[in-house]
């Protein structure tokens, strides 16, 4: 397994699995999927065997979820074939996948909170009796059998709302068993579970395995991969870059496979001398999301925040911006404590936040460009209680020009702009408030390469002008290429702080996944 940086051939990938005698129950051949501007999956060959747990690992955005969505009929692949027991199948929709025996439990369980356990398990494939009437008695009996097989105690008449997350996962698994699923896909099933619940889940996985289900187990946690998986596949940038038997691999090797990429994009990193501390957090904690977050942000600095999805980065940013209130901790601007209990406070203090989901959180699609740009700056264009429309237009024109916004006119509705230009509107609207600290949450997520380069170049300009930038990103190359310092978060805590000098992808991933052994390796 030294083929870092290249895609493995189908032959090499399937080799370790040849050890298992039975033929694969599910096989994908050359599955590809592209979204506008992004190649999500490229020529994926994957084999799932009965009674084998295959771990699917990869960074955020490596294409794992896209594959799950293709296998469960949410997306149609652009190219490639899917074989079920050797016969080619077409998965038309989620319902079809389910009836073909391909079932999935998702990160956030997609079940109905106000229906009972029985209703959830049988939704879409209810047992009907005479005259097409639903046969609840039969369904309840079947649920009891399935739950007994799983050896779990669960009242079939409980509403999902009243169950713990772990129990909801059990319902999802029971639902898979109710159609005699052959393939069970588990997308980070332990992400929200407690230690004890995780143990129970492992037991159930082992049981499913004994029953001959083929299990695709998606996880970021190496300890569980090494504990329950038989084989592994590593995805990187939409390609399968490594596969094999878990007992023959080390965590360090897996990390190397996950991150080992050739840098195909030169980052326009501007060297700015680090100035005095502008903004600091001391001991920020939240009852459920994060704890003990302390850092200093300096003038002219880009501070990267890296971590896995769900590590609490965005939640910390929300606290910095006053969207959620931390329970304890102090924020300081220029050494003086500030109170940020609402976004308006943050904006007034010169801290702005460019959110990750720019359409949901950033722009008002039905408003014209200029009104979007001036939305947080209305204070500055108000004269005697009335908006000064001429000043408003000036302000908007200035920042639209600075960002090279491509729009027919400033009166054009933002909803009619392209994604990259909408991103520019969002950034423009925050720059127009003349901030001192700008927080960029996944600034280049989902935008094309050209716009990415423009955003990166622009970040360089910002710090050159003396702004301080916090950049939350899940993209390692971006973190490595743009940051002066990197804070890695794991499970709501700071897992490490790294200076740009000596920054390596391996050390970041090791800190993010909590693999100290790999860090040493």
């Amino acid at each position: 397994m030294t083929k870092i940086g290249t895609s493995l051939s189908a032959r090499e990938m399937s080799e370790p699995m040849a050890a298992t005698e039975s033929p694969p129950v599910l096989e994908t051949i050359g599955i590809s999927k592209a979204f506008p501007g992004v190649k999500a999956l490229e020529a994926i060959d994957l084999k799932l065997y009965p009674g084998v747990v295959t771990a699917l690992v990869g960074e955020n955005g490596a294409g794992k979820s896209t594959l799950v969505k293709i296998l469960t009929g949410v997306y149609a692949p652009d190219a490639g074939r899917i074989l079920l027991n050797g016969t080619e199948i077409v998965i038309r929709d989620a319902q079809a996948a389910f009836h073909q025996g391909i079932t999935a439990t998702h990160q956030e369980t997609v079940l109905f909170d106000d229906l009972t356990v029985t209703e959830n398990i049988f939704i879409g494939h209810q047992i009907t009796g005479r005259f097409g009437m639903l046969d609840w008695k039969a369904m309840r009996a079947r649920v009891k059998t399935i739950l007994a097989e799983l050896e779990v105690e669960l009242d079939p008449d409980m509403r999902l709302r009243d169950l713990a997350i772990a129990q909801k996962h059990l319902v999802a698994i029971a639902r898979a068993l109710s159609v005699d699923a052959k393939i069970v896909i588990m997308d980070e099933p332990t992400a929200a579970l407690s230690y004890k619940e995780v143990e129970e889940l492992y037991t159930i996985v082992a049981k499913l395995k004994r029953e001959g289900k083929a299990i695709l187990f998606i996880s970021h946690k190496f300890e569980e991969i090494f504990r329950i998986a038989d084989t592994y596949v590593v995805f990187r940038d939409g390609r399968a870059v490594g596969a094999g038997v878990v007992s023959e691999v080390t965590p360090a090797k897996l990390i190397a496979l996950m991150v080992g990429r050739t840098v195909d994009h030169v980052f326009p990193k501007v060297q700015v001398p680090r100035g005095e501390s502008v903004f600091a957090a001391e001991g920020l904690s939240h009852p459920t999301e994060f704890a003990d977050i302390s850092f200093n942000l300096h003038r002219g600095e880009i501070l990267g925040f890296y971590g896995l999805v769900g590590s609490g980065r965005t939640e910390v940013m929300h606290a910095l911006f006053g969207i959620t209130a931390p329970s304890t901790g102090v924020l300081k601007l220029d050494g003086k404590p500030i109170r940020v209990s609402r976004p308006a406070d943050a904006v007034a203090a010169g801290i702005v936040y460019v959110p990750e989901e720019r359409q949901r959180q950033g722009v008002v699609l039905a408003l014209p460009v200029f009104q979007n740009i001036t939305l947080p700056s209305l204070d500055r264009i108000t004269r005697g209680g009335f908006l000064d429309l001429a000043r408003e237009f000036d302000l908007a024109r200035r920042y639209a020009g600075r960002l090279d916004l491509r729009a027919a006119s400033l009166s054009q509705e933002v909803g009619t702009l392209s994604g990259g230009n909408q991103q520019k509107v969002v950034i423009g609207k925050w720059l127009a408030t003349e901030p001192r600290v700008i927080i960029l949450d996944e600034p280049t997520k989902g935008i094309d390469v050209g716009s990415k380069a423009a955003v990166h170049a622009f970040m360089g300009e910002l710090v050159a002008q003396g702004l301080a930038v916090i950049m939350v990103s899940s993209e390692l190359p971006e973190i490595l290429g743009m940051s002066d310092r990197v804070i890695v978060m794991r499970e709501g805590r700071i897992a490490g702080v790294f200076e740009r000098a000596g920054l390596t992808a391996e050390s970041l991933v090791a800190a993010a996944t909590g693999n100290v052994a790999a860090e040493a390796a």
């Binding site: 506008p36 904006v347 949901r360 008002v364 939305l375 994604g419």
Partner: protein
């Protein structure tokens, strides 16, 4: 783009008026058109008020009940104290209406109940209070002071006072929605509440302000209604809230918030007035009026849906790429 839609709608209204005029020339006599505008004034003012509320992604079903309660209350005050000046009564009506609107707004903002539920409740509460206040009887013209009744009939420069009030309110709303932070906040809060919060706009307070505005306008209309029809009782303006909402929808105000113009709301109300006045003139049973209004509502919604779906597609493309 919004303007184009409003212009198109204005053209449609003009064509309808002209068409009726061809059949019945008396319909387009200035006197009749002024009368038509005057008849529609209250609907127009309420449509404007409702537009403010709908823009913020809320709805106010209680405006007609608000009219009944304020109408009854100011009529009682007038009957008991005929010496009180009318402008004071107008202020009183607007003030009572504002309080009723503020109650709606507070329930939405501070208690977090969906506006449709809140106002469905207050619709009954306000009418119930109107019944209590009036004791179930009507306050009729001869109990009201002559000045109280005279206002809507008075003319200024050849135009009835009610029309002047409507035009004043159109100007105020046009200015508020375009030229003030509050107006801008209405659009932002309804168009994308999340983005509004991120931009430092207090969405709940914005909705509260919209309800207060709507309440004050409805209260003022309560006085106008009582004086114009010289009667105030619990059944005043019964069911009128639906005409108001229909005017907004026909005028292109999006029920999902964030989209709508003053011109659209006013034209929606005028369309209502034209249909109501024109049908009897061309010997169409007034009962068709309901059906025609219904078709107009659906037509307007279909046209708007086509437009909104376009932006919807854009969202999906982005979502898929991320």
């Amino acid at each position: 783009m919004r303007w184009n839609r409003d212009l198109l709608f204005a053209a449609i209204v003009i064509v309808i008026v002209a068409g009726v005029g061809l059949i019945r020339p008396s319909f387009v006599w200035p006197r009749n058109l002024i009368g038509l505008f005057n008849d529609t004034s209250i609907l127009m003012m309420l449509a404007l008020a409702q537009t403010a509320v709908i823009l913020t992604k809320c709805i106010d079903l209680s405006v007609a009940a608000n009219i009944a309660l304020t109408g009854v209350l100011v009529s009682i005050v007038n009957a008991a104290h005929p010496e009180l000046p009318i402008p004071l009564l107008m202020l009183l009506a607007a003030g009572i209406g504002l309080l009723l609107g503020a109650f709606n707004g507070a329930m939405v903002w501070l208690v977090g109940i969906p506006s449709i539920v809140v106002t469905l409740g207050t619709l009954s509460i306000y009418r119930g209070l109107a019944f209590r206040a009036s004791g179930g009887t009507s306050i009729v013209g001869h109990q009201m002071s002559p000045a109280f009744i005279a206002v809507p009939r008075a003319e200024l420069l050849g135009l009835p006072m009610m029309s002047w009030f409507a035009m004043l309110l159109i100007a105020v709303f046009a200015f508020m929605l375009r030229g003030t932070r509050t107006g801008r906040a209405f659009y932002a809060a309804g168009g994308n509440p999340t983005a509004a919060v991120y931009s430092g706009i207090n969405v709940g307070r914005t909705q509260f302000i919209a309800f207060c505005t709507a309440g004050a306008v409805a209260g003022f209309c309560g006085y106008l209604w009582a004086s114009r029809f010289s009667i105030a009782n619990v059944d005043m303006a019964s069911g009128f809230e639906l005409d108001v909402i229909a005017s907004c929808v026909i005028g292109g105000v999006s029920i999902s918030g964030g989209i709508g113009t003053v011109a659209g709301a006013v034209l929606g109300a005028i369309f209502f007035g034209v249909v109501r006045n024109a049908l009897p003139v061309i010997y169409v049973s007034p009962f068709w009026q309901l059906a025609i209004s219904g078709v107009a509502i659906l037509g307007a919604v279909i046209i708007n849906a086509g437009r909104e779906r376009q932006t919807g597609r854009l969202i999906l493309k982005e979502a898929a790429a991320s």
